[in-house]
């Protein structure tokens, strides 16, 4: 068994595992009952994409892909921070979310109330 065979088998296995992980996370993005669920899943999708890029860099031997992975990580972090600021400033959006997750306490601060009498 040569080094090439080992590497090829391992990278194929890693790609398969990451494909499954990618589809599971995408299911959470589509399904996710609340906005933070979707943001967490999108952050995870960026991490999985970085893993994909690293495996492709190993398979093709094209090392410039590592720089692309670093740039993607930067963009993903900035996106998460921006989404967190959005959730903080916008408050809970009450339409189309799981009623079990709607809080029973009144919102404070800048959170907008959409006139649902409780």
């Amino acid at each position: 068994m040569g080094a090439e065979t080992i590497l090829s088998a391992a990278s194929t296995l890693a790609l398969g595992l990451m494909c499954v992980a990618f589809f599971l996370t995408a299911w959470r993005v589509i399904r996710g009952p609340t906005l933070p669920d979707r943001i967490v899943a999108l952050d995870m999708l960026v991490a999985i994409a970085i893993g994909f890029i690293a495996v492709i860099a190993i398979r093709t031997g094209f090392n410039l892909y590592i720089d692309i992975a670093i740039a993607l990580g930067l963009v993903g972090f900035l996106a998460t921070v921006a989404f967190a600021r959005f959730v903080l400033s916008h408050g809970m959006s009450e339409d189309g979310e799981d009623p079990a997750l709607v809080p029973d306490r009144p919102q404070r601060g800048k959170g907008r109330r959409k006139g649902r009498a409780r």
Partner: protein
């Protein structure tokens, strides 16, 4: 001989990273609320993709590329907790509640105590 050992190390790191990423995606799908999902995604997912990036750096056998991959790894490990903490804090402040099975919410307790003091 050295070639084979190097290939084995890279293969083990690739498969371990793939398993970590897969378990993180499983956690995102199976866990009950956004805070627990975040804990799966930001720890296991980061370690998984970081391991793959590290493996790509080792595979290149070039100190410049290895240092770049290492810098990317350190960057992910530094930024993932920051992003997850920002998002968790924003979601908690916006009013997204914990799942029913959770027993303690110290942040809400301390906020209530502060509100009572004022």
């Amino acid at each position: 001989m050295l070639d084979l050992v190097l290939a084995l190390i890279v293969a083990v790191m690739l498969v371990a990273g793939g398993i970590f990423v897969f378990l993180a995606a499983l956690g995102i799908v199976r866990l009950p609320d956004v805070y627990t999902r975040m804990h799966a995604a930001s720890k296991a997912g980061t370690v998984g993709s970081g391991l793959m990036l590290f493996a790509a750096g080792i595979h290149s056998l070039d100190i410049a590329i290895f240092m770049r991959a290492f810098a990317g790894f350190v960057f992910f490990v530094l930024t993932a907790p920051v992003g997850a903490h920002l998002l968790a804090r924003a979601a908690h402040k916006a009013g997204y509640r914990l799942a029913r099975v959770s027993t303690v919410d110290e942040m809400r307790d301390s906020e209530r105590r502060d509100a009572k003091k004022r």
